[in-house]
Amino acid sequence: MSAVIDTHGHGHTDHDGHEHHPSGLMRWVTTTNHKDIGTMYLWFSFTMLLIGGVLALTIRAELFEPGLQIVNPEFFNQLTTMHGLIMVFGAIMPAFVGFANWQIPLMIGAPDMAFARMNNWSFWLLPVAALLLISSFFVPGGAPAAGWTIYAPLSLQMGPGMDLGIFALHIMGASSIMGSINIITTILNMRAPGMTLMKMPMFVWTWLITAYLLIAVMPVLAGAITMTLTDRHFGTSFFNAAGGGDPVMFQHIFWFFGHPEVYIMILPAFGIISQVIPAFARKPLFGYASMVYATSSIAILSFIVWAHHMFTVGLPTAGLLFFMYATMLIAVPTGVKVFNWLATMWQGSMTFETPMLFAVGFIFVFTMGGFTGLMLAIMPVDVQMQDTYYVVAHFHYVLVAGSLFAIFAGTYFWIPKWTGIMYDETLGKWHFWLSLVFFNVTFFPMHFLGLAGMPRRIPDYASQFTEFNQIASVGAFGFGLTQLLFLYIVLKCSVLRKGEKAPARPWEGADTLEWTHLPSPAPYHSFHEQPEVK
C-alpha cells in the first residue's frame, strides 16, 4: 500500500489513483486528505505572507523619509494593524498548521488526521476570514486601525471595519481550535504501535503542546473580542470607562491570550529546528527528554507572564516584580533548548544544505531576539522602551528570523518528501543568504531607533532618525523581493516539477517514519497499515 508511487505527474500530490474523488477545483474544496489540506494551508499562508508583506513595504516606503509622502496617518494606522493581524493569524499560524497536517500523520505513522472532515472545515474557514479581514479596507472608516492588539478604547470607537476584523478573528479562532482538537486527538490516539509519547519526534511534541496552548487561549481571545463587540453595539461596558468599565482590563484579557499566542507561533518552529539539526549533524537530538520538559515549561510559564506587555499601565510594584521575574525565568528553558541544539551540532558531521542553513541562521538570529526580549523583560528598562522601535526590532527578530526562518527550514527539509522533487540547492542557498542579510539590514537598525526614542506606529519621525530608517526600508524591500525567489523555488518543485527526483530518504541523518517508511513523494494515502516502532 505505502509503496504506491505517483508517476503520472499533473500537479503535485495529485493522485487520482485508487479512489474516486473529484478532480479540479472540487478536489480541493471537498478534500479530507491531510496532505491536500496541509498543502492548502501552506499556500494560503504564503499568500497572506505576500499580502502582509505588501502592507509592510508600504509602511517602509512611507518611513523612508520623515514627513508624510505616500499615505495619510489614518491609513498608516490601518497598515500597521492589518500587517500585524495578517502576519500573525494569516501567515505564521496557518503555516504551522499546514506543517502539522502534512507531517504529524507521517511522523507518527497515522493514515490521516483524526477528524478529516473537520480538518477540511478548519481550513476553509480561513479564506473566508481572510476575505472579511481584507474587505474591511473598503468599508467606511477603513480597516481596523487600533493596532493588532485592538486595545480599547480605540477599538470601541472605530467604524464597521473593526466589526469585520472581530468577525474574522472569531472565525480564525474557531478554525485554530478545531485544528488543535484534531492535532491533539491525532497525536494522542493514532500513533503507530510502539511509539510511546517519549519516542515521538520533537516536532510532534511541540505541536502537541502548542495545540493545548491554542485550546486554552484562543477562546479567551474570543471572549475579549466578544466583549468588544457587545461594548460597541449592545450597550455593555466591559471596557467603556463612561459606563464603569476599564480599558486596562482589555489589555489583561488580551495578553492572557497574547503571550501564550507568541509561544504558539514559536514552539512549532522549535520543533522543526529540532528535526532539521539532528538530520544535518547526523547525530540524535541532544537531551531529548530535557527538550520535552523545556517546551512544556515554556508553555506553562507563558500563562503567568502576560502583564510584562503592560508594565506602564500602573500595576502595583509587587505585580511588576512578579511579572518581571517570571518573564526572566522563561529564559532558562529557552536556554536549555538553544544549548541542546548547539550540543547536537557539537562534533556532528555537519553539512550545510539550505534547511540546515536556515536552522543555524534561526538559532543565531532568534537568540538575538531572545536577548532583546530579556532586556525588555527588565521592568525599569521596559518603561523606557515601551512602544518604541526597540520592541518592533525584538518581535521581528523572534517572529521573522524565528518562526518564518523555521518555516523556510521546514519547507526545504520536507519539500522532497511532499513533491518528490529536490529543490534547487543553489537558489535555496541564495534565498537563505539574501534573507539573512536583508533581514538584519531591515531590523537591526530598529534597535538603535528604539533606543534613541523613535515611537512605533507613527507615520512621521524626527529627522535625526532618517538614516537608520532609510537603511531599514532598503533592507525591507530586499527582504520582500527575496521571498519571490522562494516562491519560484517552491513552484519549481511543486507545479513546474523541474529538478532532480528526490530519493525516499534524501537526508541521510533523517530517521523519522516519513523518511524511513515512505517513498518520495509521499503517496496520497499512507500508513493504512501502521508501522511497528521499536
Binding site: I181, I184, T185, L188, N189, M190, V220, A224, M249, I253
Partner: protein
C-alpha cells in the same frame, strides 16, 4: 472493522473533552472581569491618591500649622434700615486654611431695599494677605420687605502674612444703593 470503530469512538470522546476545555476557557475570559474588578478593589488600584490617603480628605499642604491668627468680624450699616451681624464675633484660623463665616442680615422695612457691603481691614496691611474667594460683598444685595438672609464669606489668609500680625479685623459696612430700589420696585 472493529478496531477503527473503537478508535473513532475514542476520538469522539477526546473531541468532546477538548471542546469542553475550549468552552470552559471562553467562560474563563468572562470570569476574568469580576475577578479583575475584585482584585483592583482589594489592591486599591482604582484609588487615584497615594496609598493610605484614599479615604482621607484632601489635605491642603499650603496651611501653615505653626501659628494661628485671630479673625474678628465686625459689621455696620450706614443709612440703611437693616440689622446686620456675623454669626460669630471671632474665629482662630491657621494661615492658608479655607474658612467660611456666615453673616445674617434683615430688612426691617416694608419695602425691598438694595445695599452694597464694603469691607475694610485692621490693620490695614492685612488687606494684602486676606483673600476672599466668595463674598456677599461682591454683588449688590436686594432684600424683600422683612426678609432675613444668611450670607457667606469664604476666605484664606495668605501664609505669607507677616509674623507680627496676630489679629485681623474684618469689618463690613452696608450702604444703601439709591436708585437700585426704584428699579427693583418697578422691575
Amino acid at each position: 472493522m472493529n478496531a477503527p470503530a473503537a478508535a473513532s469512538a475514542s476520538n469522539r470522546r477526546m473531541l468532546k473533552k477538548l471542546l469542553v476545555v475550549a468552552l470552559g476557557m471562553f467562560g474563563f475570559g468572562f470570569a476574568m472581569v469580576p475577578f479583575y474588578n475584585k482584585l483592583c478593589e482589594v489592591a486599591g488600584l482604582r484609588e487615584l491618591w497615594q496609598p493610605g490617603e484614599a479615604n482621607a480628605a484632601a489635605v491642603n499642604t499650603q496651611v501653615d500649622l505653626t501659628r494661628k491668627v485671630t479673625i474678628e468680624f465686625d459689621s455696620n450699616v450706614r443709612m440703611l434700615p437693616w440689622t446686620f451681624k456675623p454669626m460669630a464675633s471671632s474665629v482662630e484660623v491657621h494661615p492658608g486654611e479655607l474658612t467660611q463665616m456666615m453673616y445674617e442680615v434683615k430688612n426691617t422695612l416694608n419695602e425691598p431695599v438694595t445695599g452694597q457691603a464694603v469691607p475694610s481691614y485692621g490693620p490695614r496691611q492685612a488687606a494684602l494677605y486676606f483673600n476672599k474667594l466668595q463674598c456677599f460683598c461682591f454683588t449688590q444685595q436686594t432684600l424683600a420687605a422683612g426678609e432675613v438672609r444668611q450670607m457667606p464669606v469664604v476666605f484664606v489668609v495668605d501664609p505669607a502674612l507677616p509674623k507680627d500680625i496676630g489679629t485681623i479685623t474684618l469689618s463690613y459696612t452696608f450702604f444703601r444703593v439709591d436708585g437700585a430700589d426704584r428699579k427693583a420696585a418697578k422691575g
